[in-house]
């Protein structure tokens, strides 16, 4: 077995893994905040829809969601999308799924804020938007960083599920090589890659947490 060949191939797959990871975070973090607003909305119908969305996303396998997102355009709308849609479908499914989890984390953070912060801002004449952006959100972010780190680390490993749509990320690549060369080595190396990637993620998140330690 050529170790260089394995590493090169896994490296290519790893690139796809990182892209799935980054795009998912980029879109699901803001979408999650939006969903959490919906979940906390005073309007019954918006709150109910958000609740249902979160419930479905958390209550069904991510693998199934990937398949549904991929096939839905054809079976529901009769659309024929090219094979480039595979990758898009992976990103859409991951974003939808992670936004649901992030929404609940945001909600927990927002609801844990003392009422006094809102009242102080109100009496001082802050508008609702100013209160949220300047007073509430920064404190919420500090509070929710640990659970966000958890989800982020899970996401790194979940990217391997992209194989169900034949998007060749690192794990798909490792399996292919493992099967063709009848050795477990590529899978073990892939595991090491995931582990190292998560070490970097955890380190980065710790840095962010520390940077917010200037207040309590």
């Amino acid at each position: 077995m050529n170790i260089n060949f394995v590493l090169t191939q896994l490296g290519l797959g790893f690139l796809t893994t990182v892209i799935i990871f980054a795009l998912t975070l980029l879109f699901s973090l803001p979408l999650g905040l939006l969903v959490s607003f919906g979940r906390m909305s005073k309007i019954f119908i918006i709150r109910t829809i958000s609740k249902f969305y979160i419930s479905v996303m958390r209550g069904t396998p991510l693998m199934l969601q990937l398949i549904v997102v991929f096939f839905a355009p054809y079976y529901v709308f009769g659309l024929q999308l090219g094979s480039s849609y595979r990758f898009t479908a992976v990103i859409v499914a991951f974003v939808l799924n992670y936004a649901a989890y992030f929404a609940e984390i945001y909600r927990g953070g927002i609801e844990s804020m003392p009422v006094g912060q809102y009242e102080a801002a109100k009496v001082l004449g802050y508008s609702k938007g100013q209160t949220f952006i300047r007073i509430i959100l920064p404190q919420v972010i500090k509070r929710i960083l640990p659970p966000i780190t958890n989800e982020t680390i899970t996401l790194v490993k979940d990217t391997s599920l992209a194989f169900v749509l034949s998007v060749v990320e690192m794990f798909t690549m490792a399996k292919q090589i493992a099967a063709s060369q009848t050795t477990m080595m590529p899978l073990m190396i892939a595991g090491l890659f995931y582990y190292l990637f998560n070490l970097v993620v955890a380190f980065g998140m710790e840095r962010i947490e520390k940077s917010m330690n200037y207040y309590r």
Partner: protein, 252 residues
Amino acid sequence: MKILEIRDMKKSFGDLEVLKGVSLSVNEGEVLSIIGPSGSGKSTLLRCATMLEQMDEGDLLYLDEYAAKDVKGGKSIYSSKLDLKRIRRNFGLVFQNFNLFPHYSVLKNVAEAPQLVDGISKKKAETRARILLDKLGLSDKAEAFPFQLSGGQQQRVSIARALALQPKLLFFDEPTSALDPELTGEVLKVIKELAKEKMTMVIVTHEMHFAEELSDRIIFIEDGIIQVEGTPEDIFKTDNPRLKEFIGKFGK
């Protein structure tokens, strides 16, 4: 000139009638203290006056302008959001537990609202904030964060924060109740200074001695209505048995 006027304010939470018709007014330069046992309605009165809570019935006026008006049939109708925003600028509120913004430095706590509300420059707001902090004996704490301060210092910062908007009336909601006994003095001293400068103030307090010394008028509230109102002298020489008992309990 009447800074604040409340007419027949009523407020219930579900079946619990907390305020049963309270009327009072505060003139410019006057210090009014509100005393009364826990659950008497004095906090609700303050929260309704500062519009953190909506009253059910009654009128609320600042500088003779209606913030809420009782229409016939007994229901308070509040003015438009825009009007309320302007009316709110007449008063400031100092909370029992400070409610400082923990992620802001002391300076930013004091200087941000004037920038957002009055639209003055950051530089000007910070210069003014430093003058205020200096006045309240906090000039060396401008760069500190609230968690680094004692309770008394935090409460002084929150007074500075309220003063930065130059309110015509300052409400205090039990400003020393969350403080260790040895820290109440520094906060009371600041409030006394303000009284000397003829700042109009409404103070909900348990500090009887302080209320007696400082107030032009004192209101004793119990069971959601004003039981006794008068000068400190009237209050502390009262014949009202409930008030006597209350003052006795808090041992002046």
